[in-house]
Symmetry: C2
């Protein structure tokens, strides 16, 4: 079974146009390379109830949920609280995180620093080489910070655990309009339901006008569908074909 | 009342990491400049039922819904069908679009071309200068294509209708860690609930360590909250202050 993932990007600064999110594109690319099927990305504000509701909704659909943003000491860092509420778990102070907080800040009764050690009950910490602070997970939910370089370092440190069998990809570049192959694509997608077939027009200014993609985890089925399409494309319509199996190539 | 918007980005190619979406960032920025409050962005695959469910969910929360992608003649263009299903409306052939299709393709019985004129019952067409094809709307849902230059041209052509009173923004750049102002920010956000207060750490490599943003549609309240924060910041912590009202500045 392929892991179905959902991504929750948490942050007012993205919705208000102050920061262009890069985490979603990064995660879609990385998770695809890991053979994971990303089913949905949701960008929501720093609000406990909205986070709780979004986590609950994703929980019912996905095998893997990745959140970014909203972890930190300030009033607008409410991801942990929203997650706890969404999963119906109390917040508890995690002894390992509490020790890390003491290591960094010294013994303190500052509530804004100490809440950095609060987690939903039952949370686990995933340690990995190169990480000073482990990644927090609550069953299938993985919680990442929003600061890009920290987020990426943490993701790369633990991504091996998300590995699935890979996707294989074929790309066909066409010099004709999408309309002239629409019927063929309907036929191909009906005949080969296990192969995902995409059609992307790019206007008429480049070396090609339409990019067709065929994808599957089953290489034989992919090749069969690829042959089916190639055999039926209008004569002279193919500009080039990409044989690389790399889905982000 | 401020318009609450949700954005639906529709396309397998985004979730599978082949294309990095730029529409969400563009729309968040543009809508903010128009004074619109973007509440959520959702990226979903080209699937009728997922689109239908997402439209229904957004309909219950938002005053304005903008979709991008999934309009066109091929099998994976199912936004219109999903929208119709989500709103419980039948698909009907729109006479103006049918004429446009005939103008472009000539009289044809090609079903893949003719379905470009199908819309949910009750849909309206918004004509604007410079648009050959009008923008399709179904009440508060506006449907845009995924091809970037076409999408942007269409959005700019009709965006004036989304205009709200503007947001005003103040930015404070701090040379100290976020932890040292967390308590103050809690106090400020409790005292000034009408002013959105954001705190964004940027690591310790630049000219500042934390960017604070204060935003409101009420300029007086913004200035009051700004003064409240400035008065209480630790001595010497302010690197600079940005006075521009432009929320994307």
């Amino acid at each position: 079974m392929t892991t179905r993932a959902e991504i929750l990007i948490i942050g007012n600064e993205i919705l208000s146009g102050k920061v262009a999110d890069e985490h979603a594109a990064f995660l879609c690319r990385e998770l695809r390379l890991l053979g994971v099927d990303v089913r949905r990305v949701v960008v929501i504000p720093d609000e406990v109830d909205t986070i709780a509701e979004s986590v609950r909704a994703a929980w019912g659909r996905a095998d893997l949920i990745i959140t970014t943003g909203g972890v930190g000491p300030t009033h607008d860092d409410v991801t942990i609280e929203g997650l706890a509420k969404g999963l119906g778990r109390p917040l508890v102070r995690h002894p390992v995180l509490a020790q890390l907080v003491r290591d960094v800040y010294g013994a303190s009764d500052d509530p804004y620093v100490n809440r950095l050690a609060d987690v939903p009950e039952g949370a686990t910490l995933i340690a990995a080489e190169g990480l000073r602070v482990p990644v927090l997970a609550v069953e299938k939910v993985y919680v990442f910070p929003g600061v890009p370089e920290v987020f990426r370092r943490k993701f790369h440190a633990i991504k091996a655990r998300f590995q699935n069998p890979p996707f294989f990809l074929r790309t066909i570049y066409l010099g004709v309009r999408e309309e002239s192959v629409a019927g063929l694509l309907y036929d191909a997608s009906a005949k080969h339901p296990d192969v995902a077939l995409g059609s992307y027009p790019v206007g008429n200014r480049g070396a090609y006008r339409v990019r067709l993609t065929l994808e599957s985890k089953d290489r034989m089925r992919l090749e069969t569908a690829f042959a089916f399409v190639m055999d039926r494309l209008p004569s002279g319509s193919v500009v080039s074909v990409d044989r690389e199996p790399d889905p982000t190539g």
